[in-house]
Symmetry: C2
Subunit: 398 residues, 2 copies
Amino acid sequence: MTRLISSATGLLISTVIMAQQAIWGVPQFINPEINHDNTVTFRLYAPDAHSVYVDGDFIPITTTIASNGKEIKTRRPGMMKKGEDGIWVYTTPDPVAPELYSYRLNVDGLTITDPGNVFQIRDVGTVMNVFLVDGDNADYYKVSDTPHGTVSKVWYHSPTLGTDRRMTVYTPAGYEKGDKHYPVLYLLHGMGGDENSWSELGRAAQILDNMIASGEVQPMIVVMPNGNVDMQGAPGETSLGFQAPTIQLPSTWNGMFETHFPDIVEFVDSTYRTIPEKSHRAIAGLSMGGFHSMQISKEYPDMFDYVGLFSASVVPLEIKDSPIYRDFDRKLATQFAKHPRLYWIAIGKDDFLYQTNVDFRKKLDAATYPYEYYENTDGHIWRNWRIYLTKFLPRLFR
Amino acid sequence: MTRLISSATGLLISTVIMAQQAIWGVPQFINPEINHDNTVTFRLYAPDAHSVYVDGDFIPITTTIASNGKEIKTRRPGMMKKGEDGIWVYTTPDPVAPELYSYRLNVDGLTITDPGNVFQIRDVGTVMNVFLVDGDNADYYKVSDTPHGTVSKVWYHSPTLGTDRRMTVYTPAGYEKGDKHYPVLYLLHGMGGDENSWSELGRAAQILDNMIASGEVQPMIVVMPNGNVDMQGAPGETSLGFQAPTIQLPSTWNGMFETHFPDIVEFVDSTYRTIPEKSHRAIAGLSMGGFHSMQISKEYPDMFDYVGLFSASVVPLEIKDSPIYRDFDRKLATQFAKHPRLYWIAIGKDDFLYQTNVDFRKKLDAATYPYEYYENTDGHIWRNWRIYLTKFLPRLFR
């Protein structure tokens, strides 16, 4: 057997044989390197390049004042320096705070993913590398040595839409072996996202595993459907083939997602061991998913006792003439007359939707509708949506 | 709402705001373009680059004769040409046959994934872009408009190894709603692979969906475990964090995977609606997974009636002194004395394991052990393993 192993390893250096055999290469560098002091080092072997830099959300935001007095917020890319060995290197000047980060490299003007890091995440049409710095809230995003739930890609039939659609379902550790019934959180993505967004970018399974294991969160089922009714599922996962993602699909805001939502609840309650009651259902979403959560929860006021709006598009305009969007104020009054247990709003101060959220809260205040509010820094980014999930989950099903 | 959408779209061109908001970019090109005549065009905007080429398994193999008389097989990369607009273009000279292909770009000596294609697959330590040309066997690899099974990432406990481990489980369309019991195929990956390999690179879920829908294959559960007992799961999916993949782990060939295998069968039979009988269990694998299938099926001769060895490492040497690998011939005799319904061997003529498979078949022939054999061209590549799966599946559970 040693002989066989040697043969296989020999493939790595034989370009001739590689034409006929699997590619079993490994990257030249394991990137990035998180140093003992939590500074982070990036490397790239590119002897012929003239300019290489790394850009990503690990770089602190720099605020400058423009000549017109306006604040300008930018990230200054990390300029890599070439050594005599042809290896470009950049180390952050300061320790990087615990978080899940994404980044890309730029080589002579071309933005690329890092050949030294196989861990990548797609956000709409952008593929980025990721790395994680341990500690604080980021410990919720790690895979820990705890019992793990199951993450499934499941297809359901929607009678309303007349089609099969794909969703991600998290069932907590122990679900398969037991006969216990669980509450359900419906967790919705933003514009351009899909049923993979919360499990990939949002680290939802890791957050649930960790917070259930620590006792902070009740064991629950989490259902992550696809909010674009023009799509049966994520790009590449439907009969449309490897079609490129787009930021906005024709039926993104036409009310059909909200209209068909009871099909999802019906499927989930008839397929999983749920507790099929308002008191054991929550709905939350980010951005467009927050808009959906707001619309769905007020449209079906007996369905959800817990509502979470994360950086939500809260402007309840009547668009595309869907019955879903009509009579918003009256439906909202009905929803709050039924005393939902939690109406939770979260947004960052730099979010471009911040002011509309201020206005929405004024509307709730004026009507004396009770809600909880969480505000932090930064804007419309996944870092915030992961944080909001960790703040929202412990409040559910108590 | 129109106003909100405009604000969001406005993000795409504002680098200042992007420091605080999600990146919703889309690639400049949708790559590759599969033309009407099945030639394929690749594009890259890189005005400052000096040399750009595309390399991948869609390029036909060229055989030349070296001065020593030996055949040399290579693929000649597609040299891209720069237009005045700074866009590099390459179109294949001939139509590309139906298949799922992988490729990468090389810019001035640096091998990168294609910024114009968000669809990527990791094979051990190599990330490649993929595209699919319709037709023939490749139609099995597409997501079609058929009922879809569920693909789950599930953790099981192994008492033998004393740890929790991750597996991929495919349950056929209709599993959730019915009460039917199903046969089970255990499908094993190769060295350096993991529990994601068959569903990602092998398109196992698409193949099963399509072949079950067409009636060619019996509905079945497919269990894809992780064959590296040093790992609880795939790189990035365990408490080791975003650790780089390696081709060979310390315990890759020490018999522990085979020893613990009954834990997997016990978990599956107690968790899913299986038919827990030898006549309704199959085991198959590629390369190292073929070795595992050979060892496991002979070690537990009452467990599997169907065995598939795809480009398998069939040399049954006694390595690392595991009891699993002792007395191979005697155990094989016991296995065949119990008349397994199918012992299926497949390999390509260019596979580096070809001769060892010839020798293994001679051994079977000499002992008059019945088996079926499928041979094709090419070598140790995923294209072949997908083909072997489509040939093997229709033979099961008849």
